[in-house]
């Protein structure tokens, strides 16, 4: 059996790891060729190294599978949470719904978790309401003014001509109202709010975060300038970008919800109030925990107003 020198084995191992240049590889092949049985020996060593790598991978896989078992106890809870916070693809949402129908224990856990989640959401709203009241108290310095209510006195003595004019004005008013207040773009304007940008809750690598933040700010600038084409493009791009590594779970939800909602408004701004928009709106409406759930409900009401038809 041919033995290879340690120097040759060092080079052979480097070659196996892909660390040799083309020139170095040619030199090694030439040196192996000079030794009787050198090529066969090299093949056997490569075989050993590959097998050792396989063993390493298999052992690591066993460990990883053990680690995963500790997550199993919370697997369903995580699955439900992702569903409730609208973080699942359509196929996965359907899987959850199917399992609710078929698995009684899962359905019960789902129901409990949904109640808890709604409770947390309500508590958060309540806390915010209290905060608003406090701000309100701080702002009003005691000079409260009572609103004067003037009772309307109906005037019945109208001539037919005046009635017709009024009717005409009402119809014209409805058209004006529909155009000015309920057109797609008017609704996009009405519901759009510029979020505070420029800071994040997490800490860490600035470049990835800064790039994400910049795109986020650009998308909102486009909204403010009513450049809805660009806004839509940027929000869609952000929606498919891997969020920065240092984002906390809270950051992830904040940004994702903001993207979901503003993409809808950008679509409205583009006068695309058809199926695509409705689909996206339905996703938020199906998720009471979504940050923009209430706004989505109001928008749906506005979209359904009869004068938009």
């Amino acid at each position: 059996m041919t033995a290879l020198s340690h120097e040759l084995l060092t080079r052979l191992e480097a070659s196996h790891r892909g660390k040799l240049s083309e020139e170095e590889q040619q030199e090694l092949d030439a040196d192996l060729a000079k030794i009787p049985g050198g090529a066969e020996a090299a093949t056997e060593f490569r075989q050993l190294w590959q097998a050792l790598q396989s063993l390493q991978a298999e052992e690591q896989r066993t460990k990883v599978e053990e680690w995963e078992t500790s997550w199993q106890a919370t697997a369903d809870a995580e699955w439900i949470e992702l569903y409730l916070s609208n973080q699942l693809s359509e196929e996965n949402r359907q899987r959850v719904e199917q399992r609710r129908e078929q698995d009684e224990a899962f359905a019960s856990q789902f129901s409990d978790q949904e109640k808890l989640s709604a409770g947390f959401s309500a508590a958060k709203d309540e806390h915010f309401r209290e905060q608003l009241s406090q701000w309100d108290e701080q702002v009003s310095t005691g000079d409260e003014q009572e609103a004067k209510v003037r009772p309307m006195v109906p005037r019945w003595r109208r001539t037919l001509g005046i009635a017709a004019t009024v009717l005409l004005l009402i119809v014209a008013g409805l058209f004006w109202n529909a155009n000015v207040n309920y057109s797609d773009q008017a609704l996009a304007d009405k519901y759009y709010q510029n979020p505070p940008t420029g800071n994040l809750m997490g800490a860490g690598e600035m470049s990835e975060e800064a790039a994400y933040q910049q795109n986020f700010t650009d998308a909102h600038s486009a909204m403010q300038f009513k450049d809805y084409d660009r806004a839509r493009l940027l929000f869609e791009k952000l929606g498919t970008t891997v969020p920065p590594a240092n984002f906390s779970d809270h950051d992830l939800v904040y940004y994702q919800d903001n993207l979901d909602w503003n993409l809808i408004l950008a679509l409205l701004g583009q006068n695309e109030s058809g199926g695509v928009l409705q689909q996206r709106l339905d996703v938020i409406l199906a998720s009471p925990n979504h940050t923009y759930y209430t706004q989505a409900q109001r928008l749906q009401e506005d979209l359904d107003k009869f004068w938009r038809w």
Binding site: H6, E44, F45, T241, A245
Partner: protein, 183 residues
């Protein structure tokens, strides 16, 4: 200072091969990884979990072999997603627009063929079991746990990295003899 200094510190910790560091890394990245693939693909819970495990195995190999080392060009998380994207594609995942945002990361072909990998692993485990304790120990340290030669020398109280390397090659030659004796 590197843009990814914090990740590079973590990478150095992972390169030492300790289970505690890898376990913490597994737990930290599990939720974001799953969340991303459950949201942006049609893959089920089990498929995504299995994908994450495959990704961890690939990353472990890349880190312990020194293929992935500082300075980093992206965060570890982005790199992990890159491995995930490649495996997702190789395992038949449908093309998605989000893929453009994630870097391409080469994945060793051997990882894809589980059966062949298991056979090779069983074969070499048998060879290791037939070796004397000292050789088995050093080969496991180097090839399974990713120890550097310096770390092996320190652990086995050898005179230095050169001495450890010599012993490693002697043991590899003996292992090769076992292949031939078995044939």
């Amino acid at each position: 200072m590197s843009k990814y200094a914090r990740d590079e510190d973590r990478l150095r910790e992972l390169a030492l091969g300790g289970d505690t560091a890898w376990r913490a890394f597994y737990d930290d990245l599990r939720s974001p990884f799953r969340l991303f693939f459950l949201k942006h693909t049609s893959w089920s819970n089990d498929q995504v979990t299995s994908l994450y495990q495959d990704v961890m195995v690939v990353l472990h190999r890349k880190v312990t072999s020194g293929d992935l080392a500082a300075p980093l060009r992206s965060s570890l998380r982005t790199y992990l997603f890159g491995v995930g994207k490649m495996l997702y594609r190789k395992q038949g995942g449908t093309q998605n627009r989000w893929e453009e945002e994630i870097p391409e990361v080469a994945v060793p072909a051997s990882v894809e063929d589980r059966i062949a990998e298991q056979e090779r692993a069983a074969w070499v485990r048998d060879l290791l079991n037939r070796m004397d304790g000292k050789c088995r120990e050093i080969l496991e340290m180097v090839y399974l746990r990713g120890f550097s030669m310096e770390a092996v020398a320190e652990d086995l109280q050898l005179s230095g990295a050169g001495s450890a390397r010599k012993r490693k090659f002697d043991c590899l030659q003996r292992m090769r003899k076992l292949i031939n004796s078995a044939n």
